[in-house]
């Protein structure tokens, strides 16, 4: 087929989609330039930097340590609370800005900067070199650069990835299994005694993961939570006693903190008060001189806000002052003023804050071009500062004015300190809100490109008028696109997007019921009613969205009946295995060959089922409570990586064999259905990548796909069904537009090391399992032979029994329409002798792609406009930016690779099927 102008415009439309996505992303998630190199002390009139009270730091991170876990009445940290009461511990609530996930938080705590949203993506692609802090200025780098600087690290291997070749001794733990509450922490704790005896290091970092795992698994009220807090408190006690008693540790500042908090469901990532309020405690006997005795346990001032509120980034400059090293270059934190009394000389205090201010000024000058930062005599109107740049310049002018007024003498600390603090604080808040960093021209260019993509898709439809028809289906297709676009501007609809798809899909099934009713003998649309019923079950499977997060749903109901859930899971696996088995056996004739096929399919299915059991034994052992203990132990011995690889390899060889067989036998005229066979093997991979409690959903999907395939629909209606069902299935599997709902539990199936591409693909498959499944089904349910056969058979029966009435006429009309459409589609139709009887309507892939492309580009356009128009909106980082990330995955991952790539492959294979059938 020669490419004509309509296919070319569709091609252009699809090429423009990824370009638009990337251009917009570079403007929306600007890559923040950082100042390279290590900071050094600059010379000031104040002379050498003040002497540091501490020379060592023990930095103990407890993942997801929310403020109330340490400070409230229901806390297991009784020893830590006693330290607060006796005045040797300074407690804070450290505000962690969104996204509240580990890697950006570690970056904030070590560099003092505010990580850009880009770090969210990099958090999932951790090995990416751009995200390491090897070349950035951090307090770790500064401590290592000190004379005799040696660092040790135990715990979450995020630190090892962020700081390659930084640690003298390290033992990283990775969090593969969220059900691991003890092993991950014992792995850290066992190093503590020997390190406390060693005197060669000046920084020890520990990162405990167990508490976060408990949160993810069962929420903050889990019965495991208090024992875990007690365990952490024991370690605090152990370390604090060592500091008190061992002479080489006497000048050690001991910090206990969380990297982020958690919400009431035990998850994190967003900007809820619980998620952004981790605890932060500084402990040392030396603090007795400055710390006021505080009440502990206590009540929060507001939700999760205990004691003084500081920013997480303040940790870096505070450590710089306490340990005596230059503040890291990219720092936006402010030295915590509670520690200033450690220095008796007022000028030392001024010097600390002045160095802090000068360092921040350096960054401010890179963003704002006001002359006033360099020239204290430049004209500056401070009566009503209009821009944030001017506001900062005015705050800085106050500092310089005080110095100028002293004519060479040092100003009194009480007069200069407030001015310095005011400047630092506003610089921190202004520079932290990245609003000024959008590259609006790129945003507009991205919008333009997405608009062009939509326009080209539209041009294609106008040039090829068969794509879209002015009909009820056309109206509904247009309405879905229009409503979806409008919805992107309302934050609650973005958060609760699932309702839109559930709602439109149920209407669509009712519409299909009307269509079906016109074609059915009794007028009763049984298949559509079935679809509606299954749809209702599907949408209740997982509660998703923000508003009712944690409400009861079928998946959680099933989790309390493990035997029931396993029955459903195994039934799903067995059904699928039967399909795969049937695919092979019907291609084979010899008894021996058939026996071999039986054996290999049985083996593959067993591997797949045992993988699930072995995975669950590690990830959710409570689901195997009914299982004999020795059996669980045996399951724990099974090698997960090898099992997963076995499944993937089995499917791969299965596909190879099918391809080989079809290549050899294309002329034998057997009903090939290669597409169906490939879909079945792919389903096995999808089940492997699906959370156990969601596996039965694919059984329901299979039933639904079969019902749709048997409905008398035209291909436009099939395409719209696929659009609706891909989205419905995405949300029904528990996904949402929030970062916290990304499922990483199956990210490492079959991967032993860290391979960013493999993990990326596995994460995509496990989160887009539903959409991928429905896309590969689209080809099958678009093969209309089943439906047409149904209609024809009934028509004939009717003809025999009764005279013609209007229903029959209507039916015949539709059948002939479908046939006419199929004649147009199947290529060598003029030569076909029997075309009016048995030509199944071929699914016109280009029409299908055109409709999907138009939907994708218009929705992308709407999201882009919403993100641009609402870029100063309160929820831009919590609602719209995550939505854009999801849109990127939908457009690039799902549309380009799945809809067009995989869908195209299935269509090509399906075409082979039809040719084979015709020869038959």
């Amino acid at each position: 087929m020669l490419p004509n102008s309509s296919s070319i415009s569709l091609l252009i439309s699809n090429i423009l989609i990824p370009i638009a996505v990337l251009v917009f992303a570079t403007g929306f998630f600007p890559y923040k330039p950082f100042i390279p190199g290590l900071a050094t002390y600059q010379s000031l009139e104040y002379g050498d930097p003040p002497e540091a009270p501490f020379d060592k730091v023990i930095f103990m991170v407890v993942d997801a340590l929310r403020s109330d876990f340490v400070y409230s009445v229901n806390s297991g940290f009784s020893f830590t609370q006693s330290l607060i009461r006796s005045g040797v511990a300074l407690p804070f609530t450290a505000h962690a800005s969104s996204p509240t996930i580990t890697m950006p938080r570690v970056k904030a705590m070590t560099t003092g900067s505010v990580p850009s949203f880009l770090d969210v993506i990099l958090n999932f692609a951790e090995s990416d070199t751009t995200s390491t802090l090897a070349h950035q200025d951090t307090w770790l780098a500064q401590l290592k650069a000190k004379r005799g600087g040696r660092l040790v690290m135990y715990g979450d291997d995020t630190w090892l990835k962020l700081f390659p070749e930084t640690f003298t001794r390290a033992d990283g733990t990775s969090s593969f299994f969220v059900s691991d509450f003890t092993e991950v922490d014992n792995n850290v704790t066992r190093h503590v005694p020997e390190e406390l005896n060693a005197s060669d290091w000046n920084a020890m970092i520990m990162h405990y993961l167990g508490l976060d795992h408990i949160g993810h698994k069962a929420g903050p009220l889990s019965p495991n939570m208090i024992p875990k807090q007690v365990e952490m408190d024991r370690i605090v006690e152990q370390i604090y006693h060592a500091i008190e008693t061992k002479s080489h540790l006497k000048s050690t500042i001991f910090i206990l903190c969380g990297d982020h908090g958690m919400n009431d469901g035990g998850n994190h990532g967003g900007s809820g008060a619980g998620e952004t309020s981790p605890a932060l405690v500084f402990m040392s006997p030396k603090l007795k001189s400055i710390a006021k005795k505080k009440q502990s346990p206590t009540v929060p001032l507001s939700a999760f806000h205990y004691y003084t509120l500081v920013e997480q980034s303040d940790i870096a400059p505070t450590l710089a002052g306490l340990l005596g090293f230059p503040i890291p270059l990219n720092n936006l934190g402010v030295f915590i003023p509670d520690f200033l009394p450690l220095w008796n000389n007022g000028n030392d205090r001024v010097q600390l804050l002045l160095r802090n201010a000068l360092q921040i000024l350096n960054i401010v000058k890179m963003t704002f071009s006001q002359q006033a930062f360099d020239n204290p005599f430049a004209k500056l109107d401070c009566s009503d500062p209009t821009s944030s740049g001017t506001e900062l310049a005015c705050k800085w002018r106050r500092v310089t004015d005080i110095y100028r007024g002293m004519e060479g003498f040092k100003p009194k600390p009480e007069s200069i300190l407030p001015a310095l603090t005011a400047f630092c604080k506003s610089a921190q808040s202004i520079m932290s809100s990245t609003a000024s960093n959008y590259d609006v021209s790129r945003l507009l260019l991205g919008i333009g490109l997405a608009g062009a993509s939509a326009a080209f898709a539209l041009i294609h439809m106008l040039l090829d008028p068969k794509t879209i028809t002015i009909s009820a289906t056309g109206t509904q297709y247009s309405l879905v696109i229009a409503l979806y676009g409008i919805m992107m501007f309302a934050s609650s609809y973005v958060e609760e997007e699932q309702h839109f798809w559930y709602w439109t899909t149920s209407f669509w099934f009712m519409y299909l019921g009307i269509v079906e009713s016109r074609h059915s003998q009794t007028g009763l649309p049984k298949k559509s009613l079935g679809l509606l019923l299954f749809h209702r079950i599907v949408v209740r499977w997982n509660q998703t969205g923000q508003k009712h997060a944690g409400a009861p749903d079928i998946a959680h109901f099933l989790l309390s009946y493990p035997v029931l859930i396993w029955t459903l899971v195994i039934s799903t696996y067995l059904t699928l295995s039967y399909f795969v088995y049937r695919d092979y056996v019907r291609r084979l004739t010899g008894d021996f060959e058939r026996a071999m096929a039986r054996l290999s399919v049985a083996w593959l299915s067993l591997v797949a089922i045992f993988f699930k059991f072995a995975f669950v034994a590690r990830d959710a052992p409570e689901l195997l409570g009914w299982f004999p203990e020795s059996g669980v132990e045996w399951l724990l011995l099974l090698p997960l990586v090898k099992l997963a690889r076995g499944i993937f390899a089995g499917c791969f060889f299965g596909v190879l064999w099918l391809g080989y067989w079809e290549g050899m036998h294309i002329r034998t005229g057997q009903p090939a259905a290669l597409a169906q066979s490939l879909h079945n093997l792919l389903s096995l991979i999808i089940l492997t990548q699906t959370r156990t409690q969601n596996i039965p959903l694919f059984f329901i999907f299979t039933v639904m796909a079969n019902l749709i395939a048997r409905l008398p629909l035209i291909s436009f209606q099939r395409t719209l069904s696929i659009i609706l069902l891909t989205h419905t299935s995405f949300f029904s599997l528990g996904n949402s537009n929030a970062i916290s709902s990304i499922d990483l539990s199956n990210a490492y199936n079959g991967v032993s090391g860290y391979n960013v591409i493999a993990v990326g693909i596995l994460v995509f498959i496990s989160n887009w399992a539903g959409p991928i499944w429905w896309t590969t089904t689209s080809n099958l349910i678009s093969n209309q032979s089943l439906a047409l056969d149904d209609v024809r058979r009934k028509t004939k029966e009717n003809d025999r029994r009764n005279g013609k009435n209007w229903i029959l006429r209507e039916r015949e009309h539709l059948a002939s329409l479908a046939e006419r459409a199929s004649d147009e589609n199947v290529s060598p139709s003029p030569q076909e002798p029997n075309k009016t009887i048995s030509t199944p309507q071929q699914f016109l892939f280009i029409h299908h792609v055109a409709l999907l492309t138009f939907f994708t580009s218009v929705s992308l356009l709407a999201i882009m406009i919403a993100c641009t128009a609402l870029r100063t909106h309160l929820f831009i980082w919590t609602v719209f930016s995550p939505k854009y990330l999801y849109a990127m995955a939908w457009c690039m991952g799902h549309h380009i690779f799945i809809n067009i790539g995989l869908g195209g492959l299935m269509w090509w294979v399906g075409k082979m099927d039809i040719k084979t059938k015709k020869r038959a």
Binding site: S492, W503, R518, G523, L532, H535, R536, N805, W806, E810
Partner: protein, 246 residues
């Protein structure tokens, strides 16, 4: 008062049912226009109370609505047998050969009995059926039983009651309705409008405005009443006699 429901018939046998003509009485001609607005006014009058306490307000409102609906069907609509006359082949096909008597005169007895039967059928079959559909379309199953029940009852007495009154147990007509192979009129328009309105009524529920009226099932019932009025206006007046293309 004599009605003239059987006078004008197209000479050639029609394959598609005719729209239902309201009775030609003076009262009917006026009341058919007032009725939807009376219902809507009653609903708006009770709206705040519904928002405040749906479970106790919805049933009392239902009494009023059913009363108005009864007035409407008794005074404005031809009862079931009149409607079926338009489609004899259908009856023949499904073997429901009814003995048909010419009904030029219709006393109140002829109307009251079908009306009472419609009322019973709607309550016994319509309400449970609509309840099932409300749940299928996303209504709560395990909670809010009474909320959903009264919501379904309102939809049923708005949409189903007049349909039962004019269609009776003529499965052919119901089947045409299922396939939307039926011309729009006051009754069909009102029914479709109610269902569609109830569906659209779900739209504001996910918004984070946290208003009382967003709670189940206030928006659904509101949508149903609004849709009923709109559907009657469109089906009974503007698009009367047209068949919806699907």
């Amino acid at each position: 008062m004599s009605s003239t429901t059987t006078v004008t018939r197209p000479t050639e046998p029609s394959t598609i049912a005719l729209p239902i003509e309201p009775l030609a009485t003076d009262f009917a001609k006026i009341y058919i226009h007032i009725h939807p607005f009376l219902l809507l006014s009653l609903y708006i009058y009770r709206f705040d109370a519904i928002v405040g306490d749906p479970v106790s307000t919805l049933p009392t409102l239902l009494v009023g609505s059913v009363g108005l609906q009864l007035v409407y069907i008794l005074t404005c609509l031809p009862p079931t047998t009149a409607g079926t006359k338009s489609n004899p082949p259908m009856l023949a096909k499904i073997g429901l050969k009814k003995k048909r008597t010419k009904q030029n005169e219709q006393g109140y007895g002829d109307k009251v009995i079908p009306a009472v039967l419609s009322l019973i059928l709607t309550a016994l079959l319509g309400v449970p059926l609509i309840y099932i559909f409300v749940v299928l379309f996303g209504g709560p199953l395990t909670t809010h039983f009474l909320h959903t029940f009264f919501c379904a009852a309102h939809i049923a007495f708005l949409a189903v009651l007049p349909l039962v009154y004019v269609f009776g147990v003529d499965s052919g007509r119901w089947r045409e309705l299922a396939g939307l192979l039926i011309p729009l009129d006051d009754v069909v328009g009102g029914a479709l409008g109610t269902v569609f309105g109830a569906w659209v009524g779900a739209v504001p529920i996910p918004l984070d405005w946290d208003r009382e009226w967003q709670k189940w099932p206030v928006t659904i019932v509101t949508g149903a009443y609004g849709g009923y009025v709109m559907g009657k206006l469109l089906g009974g007046q503007i698009l009367k006699g047209k068949v919806i293309e699907i």
